[in-house]
């Protein structure tokens, strides 16, 4: 009897394990493109998976996989008509926050390549020997069809998002209608880099050409698409690929060093970059953690960053992570409460501190007072976030020493100095000047 029960139990466990580990494969995977760059320039996550895996040299790329691309990663469409290049701005040169690039390919129907841009910057080129090539791009609730009129016609798309400052975090029932979940602001810039293109967007077809000419289209989540292309005399600086300056060469070397290390083991590469003490390497590692949804490791940077750079930029990456799509803030809240053991109130404070403050908030002395109170909070994450805002809002306090991985005593010392600089009920000197 016991044996039968044991077998039944074992079967149940096996079924349960299989149902968790063996994702339901709904059909054969569809090959839609091929990587043309070295190993580990792409990381892929299946649609129903949770972990990213680095791809080998010239890997096949399949529909529905989420692809995270290093700067310079390239792919070519299945029919060879379109080349796509990632121009992720890991070193934060762009006027908009496009730290990392991620997209999903789809099986193309009546076009040469079809994809959903999740975030970041991509460049799409017509690589045919002759004739036009077309791409269908989805993002948020948009569907754009881009026809690159001639060989070498090239366009860039840049998509990014952030929560508006002062927005209050609101916990939403996971079963609620997804459309009711609050969304961050998002913005997309479409730029013709070379040649002529036509773009079908918002029910309108727009003819565009590289500068000088109507070269730029914009969309944002508040106003939607504005299909009146803006004329540009020349390409903006950020859109021109710099390969010659010493900074560009250094950045290229950094990407290559990371790629080589990542080809062996991505997380080990990230850890070695984080431990290096070099600010550029640390930034690279932090962006990668965010891009690969490694919230656990990113959370460690928030709680016990070893250097000021890791603390400072780690919070930027977290803000970037929660701002990249609808529902990211809810996911982070769930991670904090269910995985990291924070109480609901603590998690709400963290989310609010990640969202930031409106100008009305900043006109109230109480905002600064509460931030200073949080400097001695029992949770280091809250202490670190409060300090991150304070040094930005009150530049006079930048000289107050702060240790992101410090003890309660260190925090108490910083708290006392901040209290002296911004007494209770008063605005800090910089805010007072603005008010006057």
């Amino acid at each position: 009897m016991l044996t039968v029960l044991g077998r039944l139990l074992a079967t149940c466990v096996a079924v349960l394990v299989l149902s968790i580990e063996g994702p339901a494969q709904t059909g054969p995977r569809v090959l839609v493109a091929k990587s043309t760059s070295p190993a580990a320039t792409f990381h892929a996550r299946p649609a129903n998976g949770t972990k990213y895996k680095s791809l080998l040299n010239e890997s096949d790329l399949y529909a529905t996989d989420m692809l995270v691309a290093l700067p310079g990663a390239t792919l070519v469409s299945r029919n060879g008509s379109i080349t796509l290049r990632s121009s992720a701005d890991f070193d934060a040169k762009s006027p908009l926050p496009v730290l990392d690039t991620a997209f999903t390919l789809a099986e193309p129907k009546n076009v040469d390549l079809e994809l959903t841009l999740d975030r970041g910057r991509i460049e799409i080129t017509n690589s045919k020997a002759a004739g036009a090539a077309s791409v269908r791009v989805r993002f948020w609730n948009q569907l754009w069809t881009i026809v690159l009129e001639a060989p070498d016609s090239r366009v860039a798309l840049e998509l990014c998002g952030r929560w508006p400052p002062g927005k209050r975090f609101k916990l939403i029932d996971p079963k609620a209608d997804p459309e009711l979940v609050p969304a961050p602001l998002a913005s997309l810039v479409f730029l013709v880099l070379n040649g002529s293109v036509t773009v079908e967007c918002g029910g309108v077809t727009v003819a565009m050409k590289a500068p000088p000419g109507p070269a730029e289209l914009r969309w944002d989540s508040l106003m939607g698409v504005r299909p009146q292309p803006q004329k540009l005399d020349k390409l903006p600086d950020w859109a021109i690929l710099d390969t010659t300056s010493p900074e560009a060469r250094k950045f290229h070397d950094l990407v290559e060093e990371f790629r080589q290390a990542s080809a062996k083991d991505t997380l080990q590469a990230v850890n070695s970059f984080l431990d290096s003490g070099d600010p550029h390497q640390q930034r690279f590692a932090l962006v990668t953690l965010g891009a690969l949804d490694e919230l656990e490791l990113l959370g460690k940077s928030l709680v016990a960053a070893k250097t000021l750079e890791e603390w400072d930029f780690g919070i930027t990456v977290l803000r970037h992570w929660i701002g990249r799509a609808r529902g990211q803030d809810q996911k982070f809240f769930q991670t904090l409460t269910q995985v990291r053991g924070y109480t609901e109130v603590q998690a709400k404070i963290i989310l609010q501190l990640l969202f930031g403050f409106s100008s009305d908030d900043l006109a109230q002395p109480e905002t600064y007072e509460v931030l200073i109170d949080y400097l001695v909070h029992e949770k280091p994450a809250i202490r670190n976030l409060a300090a991150w805002h304070l040094i930005r809002l009150v530049p006079e306090g930048k000289s107050i020493p702060f240790k992101p991985n410090g003890t309660q005593a260190d925090a108490a010392q910083a708290h006392a100095m901040w209290k002296k600089l911004v007494p209770s009920g008063q605005l800090p000197p910089s805010a007072k000047k603005v008010k006057e």
């Binding site: 006027p95 602001l185 508040l222 509460v370």
Partner: protein, 380 residues
């Protein structure tokens, strides 16, 4: 032949006059309608005007027919299908439904109403134009904040000159500005300036109920606000926690002991104020660890209450604030002139409306704006 020409001229003039006289209520609509791709036009930048400018106390207003110019086919314009988009102003003097006037008002008030509609429409168009880049700018600003710590605190973005601000405040273009007290402060300053120039007029009456809802900023204002609410102090939810209950009750008792004599016109007893100060200090020490474990909004509300209470104690300690509490407000009310004089004496400013105080703030705005119009109306 000569007669014929004259007759035609007369018929044309009569037709033009009738079309202007028989026109509808002023209707200003924003002339930009994104995302209509075929109707791209900057609002009020290019338009055809047939009419004449009319001088008013606020400057010149245009009376006549206005048609926006756009190279886009009118088939796609937001006005497509409308019989007539003008004239924008009705010289017949029919009623204006602005709350400040109520029923049929002719002449001057009508001109003001028409001008206000025009300003509202311009404001709406400007907001719409600004919104085109709102998301992009917000993201860019957040990115700048992250990168360098650059921030634009409140007040820095406030643009426009004093006259524009007064027009906005009088026209009630932004209700949030009114409920924040900002519009009232602007009108208050304009009234004080007009009175300083020697202007005089009948001042509207404010009821005790209305005055009860008025809130003041500045430390002396905090004292006045709290004293008038002595028996229902606005404790934030966090103060209901058991560990704070006793201290909260003590504070209520000590504060009542000070407020009651002041409200009945008696002078302040220093010993009672010292007792209140001690209780407040005890409460502040007990609240500090509690605040750290409140949500951000609750923590802000708790800090705000404590700061208001501390400001009130500080203000009451100052001899300059004797006579701050007007006992007659709660029984007899006051007129606008008396209220503003009292505010000037103690350097008070209007603060944000309390919850449920919207109606009183609208009524106060009406009273202040009316008084301002009376003071600035040209003498006949």
């Amino acid at each position: 032949m000569k007669w014929n020409r004259t007759r035609w001229c007369l018929v044309f003039t009569l037709t033009l006059t009738c079309s202007l006289v028989g026109a509808q209520q002023p209707q200003w609509t924003p002339t930009i309608a994104p995302p209509n791709p075929l109707y791209s036009m900057t609002p009020y930048r290019y338009q055809i005007n047939i009419g004449a400018p009319v001088p008013t106390v606020y400057g010149s207003t245009f009376v006549g027919w206005t048609a926006p110019f756009t190279p886009a086919p009118q088939l796609f314009s937001p006005n497509h299908g409308r019989a007539n988009t003008g004239p924008a102003w009705n010289p017949s003097g029919s009623s204006i439904q602005g709350y400040m006037y109520g029923g049929n008002i002719m002449g001057y008030a009508n001109r003001v109403g028409g001008q206000r509609d025009f300003e509202r429409a311009q404001q709406a168009a400007a907001i719409q134009r600004n919104q085109l880049n709102t998301a992009n700018k917000a993201i860019h600003d957040q990115w700048a904040y992250e990168k360098t710590g650059v921030i634009v605190p409140a007040g820095a973005q406030a643009g426009g000159n004093q006259s524009d601000a007064l027009q906005r405040a009088l026209g009630l273009l932004d209700e949030t500005e009114l409920l924040s007290g900002e519009s009232l402060n602007i009108i208050q300053s304009a009234i004080m300036e007009a009175e300083a120039r020697g202007a005089k007029g009948t001042s509207p009456y404010l009821t005790p109920r209305l005055l009860e809802d008025v809130r003041f900023a500045t430390p002396a204002g905090d004292a006045l606000n709290l004293i008038r609410q002595w028996n229902r102090l606005p404790f934030p939810a966090a103060f209901a926690q058991p560990e704070l209950r006793e201290l909260r009750d003590n504070l209520e008792k000590d504060f009542g002991a000070i407020a009651l004599p002041l409200l009945s016109g008696k002078s302040l007893e220093p010993a009672k104020l010292t007792k209140l100060e001690q209780t407040l200090q005890q409460l502040e020490s007990a609240v500090a660890p509690v605040i750290r474990n409140l949500s951000f909004q609750e923590a802000i509300a708790s800090r705000k209450f404590l700061n208001q209470m501390a400001n009130a104690v500080k203000a009451l300690n100052s001899p300059a604030n004797s006579g701050l509490v007007k006992a007659t407000w709660a029984t007899e009310g006051a007129n606008v002139n008396e209220l503003l004089k009292h505010m000037a004496k103690f350097k008070l400013r209007f603060g944000p409306a309390p919850q449920g105080g919207d109606t009183s703030y609208f009524a106060l705005h009406r009273a202040l704006a009316t008084y301002y119009f009376i003071l600035t109306q040209p003498k006949k």
